[in-house]
Symmetry: C2
Subunit: 190 residues, 2 copies
């Protein structure tokens, strides 16, 4: 039995290694599936994670365990994606400053004919940021490959006054929920 | 200017490196100071962190920045320390199971004649654990060197349904608060 991570995210790989997952194979999905037009954030991330998992499962054996996830940052009723340039990163960080937002992660696990999808949401409270801090943070390069233009497990931690929910969900994989889902597939991490 | 971490905790060192702190020197304090007899958890960790910082500052230069911290797990009005053996670890994990507890970290920073002490508290909610999970977790060795017999940044993450507060505070250093304290000493991390 191999565990197959259907995601190119180095943070998700790090989390699974932290949990002691052995024989981990990384097979990123293209993930170019469409989502229902009027889907809310929870349904969106569940759909996207399911699409990734099902795509990768086609090339796996029946005994493999496939794990896929999709994470979005949700603020003022819309999705913040990855910033395309420094100006967009600055605009996102200004919006997050002094506010709370939500991070949704959808997770799908597959083994044989069993497909389970679920989601988790965490609230993240940012302190007030100064223009200098935003500029300095963008200068570190950390925001550019991350949804919402920050990393919770990095220098961005300086901005986070508090979270409510699963911390690892903010990093891209809700660890507690994933563990319970894997149990249902007969995979015990402990 | 050097930054001096007055703690042997590898997790605190990792957090400061994550924040991009350069020229980090680790000088563990003996930390055998006494605390006021009727101190609550917040006063206890502040006192202990101040004692560590002041002890190490004696051998530092005026331009150095000294950082010390002390973390306790607080459940049912008492402190859970590091377990002395597997049986004590199991007893602690049984108590944490299906409950929430609080993690207090006191922080003291010193530069020249300025000494600042503060504390941060985070709530941690454990899901219900089975006997098999507790035994399996103890078998990994992870609980033994940790207050409360678990690591939030490890396999123990499987037990944590949610937190309320600063995640890194649970690991031993409240990042957001520390950053604001360092600003008051003229040290900008961004």
């Amino acid at each position: 039995m191999a565990t197959v991570l259907a995601s190119a995210s180095p943070r998700r790989k790090t989390i699974l290694e932290m949990l002691g997952v052995k024989d981990l194979r990384v097979v990123p999905a293209r993930g170019d599936e469409v989502i229902p037009e009027d889907a809310g954030p929870a349904e969106t991330v569940k759909c996207l994670s399911a699409a990734k998992a099902l795509e990768v499962a086609k090339n796996c054996s029946q005994s493999d365990v496939i794990i896929a996830a999709d994470t979005i940052v949700w603020l003022h009723e819309r999705i913040l994606g990855k910033p395309s340039d420094a100006a967009e990163a600055a605009a996102m960080l200004e919006e997050l400053s002094g506010n709370f937002h939500e991070v949704y992660t959808g997770v799908t696990v597959i083994r044989g004919d069993t497909v389970l999808s679920d989601h988790e949401v965490s609230k993240v409270f940012f302190r007030q940021l100064t223009e200098e801090e935003i500029a300095g943070y963008i200068g570190t390069g950390e925001p550019m490959d991350k949804a919402g233009a920050y990393g919770a497990q990095g220098i961005g931690a300086l901005f986070i006054e508090r979270i409510e929910g699963d911390f690892f969900n903010v990093m891209g994989l809700p660890v507690c929920r994933l563990g319970e889902m894997l149990k249902k597939l007969g995979v015990l991490l402990l």
